[in-house]
Amino acid sequence: MDVIAFYIFAAIAVVASVLVVGQKNPMHSVMLLITSFGALAGLYVLLDAPFTAVTQIIIYAGAIMVLFLFVVMLLNVPREEPAPPAVSALLGPTGIRIGVILSLLLGAEIVWALSRIGLGWFPQDPAAASVSSVALIGASLFTRHAFAFEATSVLILVAMIGAVVLARREH
């Protein structure tokens, strides 16, 4: 059951992601990205991480992607624009081809790296309890990682102020 669910969710995520990158229309890309994130949330559930799954849906698919959608609609530029005249050989199609080749090279390297390790290699700590409980994560966030949590609040504040600074109209 789990296995089938994994392949279904993974397939949805990958196909949606391919379409995100391949889409001409940014609006469609946003929608597809939300789909992909939804599939990922499903995978988190399979991974015994319900809290992460919920975060994924609420924050990622909900908040962040809505923000994207909002900007796309605000700016209203549905189509990819044509390339401006290239001033250097590195721009234009050659540049894009180089980018693709590089990405594929890295992909090949990752495949190679992965192929060298066994499936069950990763260390396991059988003594520890299951981590699925939200309580455990909450405790970890507010005790063990309380400092990082508080530090993140500064980060969020910076982001808020920064967004205001950047998006405010001149008066």
Binding site: V87, L91, G95, I98, L102, L105, L106, E109, A113
Partner: protein
């Protein structure tokens, strides 16, 4: 006390640099001279203490580079060697400062103060170089004098040749400095000290690297590379003749008397270390004598009065390196000392000529100046006789000492090429006498001439017509080109022909003092063979051995004796013979010059025609610049224009040094082309790094 010596000129620099523009010329110039005279007095007192006390004075100001067990203090030290140097630097420096008051009086107040601030700064750095008790302190001075030299060569930076010359000097000296720093770091890593005495001790504790290529050989070769850059020896000599674009007093002070001798001084300072690397000594001697000969032959046919002197300087420096390579350190320093007098004198004299002729530097446009410029003539003649090696003037004693030591010393590395080196030295000596008197006769005797073909006006070199990016050339090339030569400012005074005026007092006095110096300076080094006591050698010798006190503090270090200097008493007869030979050679040289350029000028033209190829070869300075151009510049240009940077127009640049600059510049432009402004390119570059590093790892 010791620190005052460099500090006084430095104070002069600070005042002139910051408030000089608001001071009148009298005040700023007077101040600059005053601090130099004061420094000279302090140096004299210090020197007297060293001479009478017989041991070094050391002053540690503070710990400069502390780190655990490695301590490098900011320390100054005066030993006999440094005594000679500080006296030369402050004494001759003060005279040249005085001379400059008259020479530079045409400049505006601001420029005048700028000039004197540079000059004072130079003196200050030179004194730090000389007084430094360890490599890093010396390096402060080493870099500092280079900087000042660069600033002063390019003093008239609106003149393109001056700007180019400054650039060339800068680049060449960086190559030398590269060697110096590496040598220094190598010594530091292996000896864990950079104090000169400490290095000498550590070197003395090792066996001389006679047949092996070891650490000391590597370090000394690197240091010698630094010396060739600073002291204009093969292969890094190309900057010095061009450096003559600077004001003449600067040529006298920096490019004749003091800075260019820094390389010689540095080797003498590390005499023990170099003595333990015989291979390096052989290289030093070979380079020295080759440079002496080559520069002497070039000097024979040059027509620019200052260039003749510049090649003569290169040649004399070659002598000094020959002495270093022979292990005759005292003789080399002796020559350094006498050379400072007569070469400064000759440069200042040529400056007086140029000053009188409103900026004319071409010998073919001179002649008959003897009557109009009596002071200049007689002093200049004294200098010429001194450098030619006519006894009993100073040049004779020092040069003869070097040649004698070359002839008699022990075999180097089992190779006894000493007679050959001596022969080349003697030939160079002949050349020296000849070209110096050629200069005297062409400038001061006969009739005033205007023979020189009008200099071909070089077409204005255009900036490479680069496409989008603005491509400022190297250091100066994008400056506004305003022609403002020294001559141009003088021309306004219309000194033309009719009433040439001799040097004004501020210029005449230094000339006379230096002339007297050129006559008598040699007497402190009269060899034993002619009933002298060669006091300078006995005085200097302690500087070239491991100091006894220092050795005593390190009981474990076995003293390996420095190869003993040849006993001077042994062969008085041989020495007298050699002396007679070199005297004869000097007179022969003068005679040749007299025949060709005084009695029978047509003969010289005939000679030039008969040996046209040779003449052209010499006139074009052995085509060294062109060879460097062909060997380095052209291939690179070909490469760079053929494909990769097709759109980039490559500027027309001459010379090897510029060739390096060009290749680097082409690389630089190529890198800039990669900076396309596209985020995608940047991400690709980032990603390329990832892929390459991982690929490298996986491939292995």
């Amino acid at each position: 006390m010791l620190v005052l010596i460099p500090l006084l000129p430095f104070a002069g620099f600070v005042i002139n640099a910051f408030v000089g523009r608001r001071l009148s010329k009298t005040v700023s110039g007077g101040l600059a001279c005053l601090v130099m005279v004061a420094a000279f007095l302090v140096a004299a007192i210090t020197g007297w203490t060293v001479i009478s006390g017989g041991h070094a004075i050391e002053q540690t100001l503070f710990t400069w580079l502390p780190s655990g067990d490695l301590q490098i203090p900011f320390a100054l030290r005066v030993d006999p060697l440094a005594t000679v140097m500080i006296l030369v630097v402050t004494g001759i420096g003060a005279l040249i400062h005085v001379y400059s008051i008259g020479y530079m009086h045409e400049e505006t107040d601001g420029e005048y103060a700028r000039y004197f601030s540079y000059l004072n700064l130079f003196a200050s750095f030179m004194l730090v170089l000389v007084l430094g008790a360890n490599f890093p302190v010396m390096f402060i001075g080493w870099e500092g004098v280079g900087l000042c030299s660069y600033l002063l060569i390019g003093f008239w930076f609106r003149k393109k040749p001056a700007a180019d010359a400054g650039k060339k000097a800068f680049v060449v000296n960086r190559i030398g400095d590269f060697g110096f720093i590496l040598g220094m770091l190598l010594l530091f890593a292996s000896f864990h000290t950079l104090d000169f005495q400490g290095v000498a001790l550590a070197a003395a504790a090792r066996a001389p690297e006679t047949a092996t290529f070891g650490l000391m050989t590597a370090a000394t070769l690197l240091l010698f590379l630094g010396a060739t850059g600073k002291s204009a020896q093969i292969p890094l000599y190309v900057w010095l003749p061009d450096a003559m674009e600077g004001p003449t007093p600067v040529s006298a002070l920096i490019h004749a008397a003091t800075m260019v001798t820094a390389g010689v001084y540095m080797i003498a300072r590390n005499a023990v270390l170099f003595s333990h690397a015989p291979t390096t000594l052989a290289v030093v001697a070979g380079i020295g004598v080759a440079t002496a000969l080559m520069a002497g032959t070039i000097g024979l046919v040059q027509n620019d009065i200052k260039r003749v002197l510049a090649y003569s300087t290169v040649s004399q420096l070659g002598y000094m390196f020959l002495a270093m390579g022979m292990g005759a350190y005292a003789a080399g320093i002796f020559h350094l000392y006498t050379h400072a007098f007569f070469k400064a004198l000759l440069f200042l004299g040529s400056g007086a000529v140029i000053h009188a002729l409103a900026g004319e530097q071409d010998l073919r446009n001179m002649g008959g100046l003897k009557k109009a410029l009596p002071v200049t003539y007689w002093t200049f003649l004294t200098g010429a006789i001194a450098i030619a090696g006519v006894p009993p003037l100073s040049g004779f004693f020092s040069k003869d000492e070097i040649l004698f030591r070359t002839f008699t010393g022990t075999a180097v590395n089992g190779w006894n090429g000493r007679p050959l080196l001596w022969l080349i030295g003697i030939v160079t000596s002949l050349l020296t006498a000849t070209y110096m008197f050629r200069l005297v006769f062409m400038a001061f005797h006969g009739e005033r001439r205007h023979d020189a073909p009008a200099a071909p006006v070089r077409p204005e070199e255009e900036e490479p017509g680069a496409p989008v990016p603005p491509l400022p050339g190297p250091v100066y090339s994008d400056l506004p080109a305003v022609d403002r030569t020294h001559g141009a400012t003088h021309a306004s005074h219309a000194h033309e022909g009719a009433h040439l005026h001799d040097a004004p007092p501020s210029m005449a006095i230094p000339l006379i003092v230096l002339a007297i110096g050129s006559i008598v300076a040699g007497f402190i080094g009269v060899p034993h063979a002619i009933w002298g006591s060669n006091r300078i050698e006995t005085f200097l010798d302690p500087s070239f051995e491991v100091s006894r006190e220092a050795a005593a503090t390190e009981p474990g270090a076995p003293l390996v004796d420095v190869p003993p200097a040849a006993e001077p008493h042994e062969d008085t007869g041989r020495e007298l013979t050699l002396m007679a030979v070199s005297t004869g050679i000097a007179f022969a040289g003068i005679g040749i010059a007299m025949y060709f350029w005084l009695r029978n000028r047509a003969a010289s033209d005939r000679m030039a025609r008969r040996f046209a190829a040779l003449h052209r070869l010499l006139l074009n300075k052995y085509y060294v610049d062109e060879i460097y151009d062909a060997a380095v510049v052209q291939p690179i240009r070909l490469l760079s224009t053929s494909g990769l940077w097709k759109g980039v127009d490559v500027g027309i640049i001459d010379g090897a040094v510029n060739g390096v600059g060009l290749s680097v510049g082409a690389g630089s432009r190529g890198l800039r082309r990669a900076q396309t402004g596209s985020v995608r390119t940047y991400a690709a570059s980032l990603f390329l790094g990832v892929v390459l590093i991982l690929g490298w790892y996986l491939w292995r």
